[in-house]
Structures are given as C-alpha cells and as structure tokens.
C-alpha cells in the first residue's frame, strides 16, 4: 500500500514529513505528536515502517512522507538518505570539500560506491536505473563534493 502512487480522490488533511531511524519507529516523539494530532493509527505506522526498513542498517535516517487523509487513514512513502549522506558516512567526514575539483575532502574506493549503489537501488524512484547507471551517478556526486573515487584503497 505504501509504495503506490497516490492517485486518489480521498480528501487530504495534511502531508507530514519526518526523519525516522530505520526499523526504529516508536510511538513517541517525533512520530507520536506528528501522527497523533491527525488521529492516525500510530502503531500501524510504526509496524509498517519498521517492516519496510528492515533491509537498511539500524539508525539510518529515513525520510518519510505521510499523507494523512481526512478519514484518519494514511499512506506513506520512504526514501533512504541522500547519496551525499552515504558518501560522507563512508568517508567519515562531516562535509564535502569547500573547493571541489581543487581540494580533495576524502577518497573512497569503487567498492564503497558499489555498496551505496546497492542500497539506493531499493529506492523506488531509482528502480528503473541499472546498477551501473546508479554507480555512475554516485561517482558524479562524489566528484562534486571533492571526494575522489579510486579503483582500490590500499
């Protein structure tokens, strides 16, 4: 239910955007107040979100968009963190280079890029892209952040 396009005539009460750690949604802030005020079934959301994010590493901050309908039902979509987030995490840095192209912030290997591509492939907006295409896109993002990608790291 969660991954389908919302082509529905059900009147919408609100759109809620949250960041929730993968597989760790609980009926407490931030989820509790955000959903409770629209009388949505908190536990159903937590169960659904947690089940759908089992494949991610625990604590990965997932971007959730919930559409709350006026009849107190809801739908939601989940996106994994941005590619820049994964690259920074893999490189262990807080931010990219201030002068990409001139100053290298860090270096990662192709293996890192491949691992990130495999995770991102799960995002439904990337499902039409081949692993190779996603990998190329990640390398492009890395370059724009001043992260150098090499074949192997010694």
């Amino acid at each position: 239910m969660a991954a389908k396009e919302i082509l529905t005539r059900r009147p919408v009460a609100a759109t809620i955007k949250l960041t929730v750690p993968a597989a760790a949604a609980r009926p407490a802030p931030p989820v509790g107040p955000a959903l409770g005020q629209y009388r949505l079934n908190l536990m159903a959301f937590c169960k659904d979100f947690n089940a759908r994010t089992q494949k991610y590493k625990p604590d990965t901050p997932m971007a959730v968009t919930i559409t709350a309908f006026k009849d107190n039902t809801f739908e939601f979509t989940v996106k994994s963190p941005s590619i820049t987030w994964y690259l920074k995490k893999a490189a262990g840095i807080e931010s990219g280079s201030g002068r990409p192209g001139h100053v290298t912030a860090s270096t990662l290997s192709l293996k890192h890029v491949y691992e990130i591509a495999k995770v991102k492939q799960n995002d439904h907006y990337l499902q039409n892209m081949s692993l190779e295409a996603i990998t190329k896109s990640i390398i492009g993002t890395a370059n724009s952040m001043g992260i150098q990608i090499v074949r192997d790291l010694d």
Partner: protein
C-alpha cells in the same frame, strides 16, 4: 530534529513544525526563510504540545474489531458490540496489538485453529499481550509473554487484569534486547532493564512450549531463531509474523531447517509462516 507538515486550505498553506523543548525556534525559522530567499518571516505561532494531546489522538483510532466470527477485540472504553461473543478487552497504551493489523489477525486465526485446550504458550514480542490472552481464552492452560519494551509489559499486565486473567495463567517478562539499539536517545525514554542472557533461558525454558508465537519483525525473527526453536517442544507449533510477503523467503531460508509442514498465510502485504518443530533437532 525538525519535522514539518503542510495543511492546505483554499489559498493559504500552513506549515506546522515540531521542535524539541529548548530548541531555538526563531533561529530555525529565519534560517529556513533565508534558505529559500523569502524577504520576510511568515507569521507563526508557538504552541506547547502536551503528551496527552497526541496520545489521545492516537487512541481514537482504536475501534472494536471482529477478527473472525464470534471473536472480537474491544477497547476498554467501549461496550462490546456483541456481548455473547468472545471479547478480548484491551487498553493498548503505547504497545502493539489491537486486533486491527493484518499480522495480529493472521496470528489470532492461527491460534484459533491450532489450540485444542491445555497447551503452554510462549508469546515472543507480546506487545499488548493480545495473542497470549487470546490463546488462554481459546483454552490454553498457561501462557508466558516476553517483550523488550517496558511499556508493552505494562500494557499487557493491565490487559490481563481487564480479561480476568491472573498470574497463575499468564506471566509476563521484560527481557533485554539482543542489540543495543532498542533505546533511542531523542526523548526521555524509560531504560529497558533486562535480565541477562542466562535468565532468558530460564524464562523461555528448553522444550517447554506447545505453541510459540512471535509477531515481531524480520531481523529479530532471524536473530532469535535459536531461542524460538529452543523453547518449543518437538512437534510444537511455531508461528512467525510481522513480516511482509516479500520477506517470507528470508524466514523460510532460516527456519526450514527446524520446521516441517510449513504453511504461509497472507493478508494484504503481510504474511505469517507456521510449522511444527522437527522432532530430531538438537540446539544447545
């Protein structure tokens, strides 16, 4: 962490954001306005949200549910629609299991079909205690419910009382989580004090239960496979849920070594895998 929601009226858009106590709201709003080049700060109002406000809202989504003919799950503040039926009365609090979710229904149906009377039940991840309580109402002799969340144990205790079930029939245990990630530090949470690994064995006992039911999530089910199998008698029925249909293969991969006569039941996107523990395994 800031979260936003957008409620749309006819010409106006209103954005509400939730902040933790002590955050500098003024600064966040001016940064946000700056970052999209707004010339002036939109008018805003700051309100304190009491815990009660949103908890009440969440509770309102709980209605009586008829799981199968003659079996209802009813919130404690509502009169059962059918007094003659078997009614499980619940106050869920902040625990999972109101009879509404497909996984709860699948498990309740499994228990309804397989309990003949006199069994010993283990409910792993008991939540509100709904499965253990239902099993007792179906005729089981004794049930143990375990959970890593103290709020679940609190809710299950209250629900046992609401259904006139005493400690001679139902025992509840708070156990330590396998991973350290069961505590989130974003809000003042109650610390999960757990018994250590040896005590879990004492609670769950080798080869003791006739039925072991676990409605949790894929990863805990995989990590707890040894414990779940260990606690079941040879030939006992094991039911596993809280998994999406696409996750059934992962469960089968891990559990088909230990289970025979495996059946998979489905409802919406969810599944329940059940089987009997093979008679000749030895896991220590």
């Amino acid at each position: 962490m800031n979260e936003d929601d957008v409620c749309s009226d006819t010409d106006e858009i209103c954005v509400s954001s939730i902040f933790l106590e002590g955050e500098d709201i003024n600064m966040s709003i001016s940064h946000a306005a700056d970052s999209i080049g707004l010339k002036e700060i939109p008018r805003y109002e700051v309100k304190i949200i009491e815990e009660d406000d949103w908890m009440k809202g969440a509770q309102e989504s709980f209605h009586p549910v008829e799981v199968t003919e003659g079996l209802w799950v009813v919130p404690k503040w509502i009169t059962p629609p059918d007094i003659q039926a078997m009614n499980i009365i619940l106050n869920p609090g902040l625990a999972f299991g109101t009879g509404d979710h497909p996984t709860t229904k699948l498990c309740l149906l499994l228990l309804h079909d397989c309990i003949k009377g006199g069994e010993h039940i283990l409910d792993y991840g008991t939540g509100t205690g709904i499965l253990a309580i239902a099993a007792l109402k179906f005729g089981a002799a004794f049930a143990v419910g375990v959970d890593i969340d103290s709020q679940a144990i609190a809710s299950a205790s209250e629900n046992a009382t609401l259904n006139n079930i005493g400690p001679d029939k139902l025992q509840l245990h708070l156990i330590a989580s396998q991973t350290s990630s069961s505590c989130r530090d974003d809000w003042p949470s109650r610390v999960v004090e757990g018994e250590n690994a040896f005590e879990i064995d004492r609670v769950t006992h080798k080869d003791k239960y006739d039925v072991v039911i676990a409605n949790i999530l894929l990863n805990p089910l995989l990590n707890l496979a040894d414990q779940i199998i260990f606690s079941a008698k040879p030939g006992a029925i094991i039911g596993l849920s809280g998994i999406l249909s696409e996750q059934v293969q992962n469960i089968l991969q891990k559990y088909s070594l230990f289970l025979e006569g495996i059946d998979v039941s489905k409802m919406d996107d969810w599944a329940c895998v059940s089987g009997r523990k093979r008679k000749n395994i030895d896991i220590c």
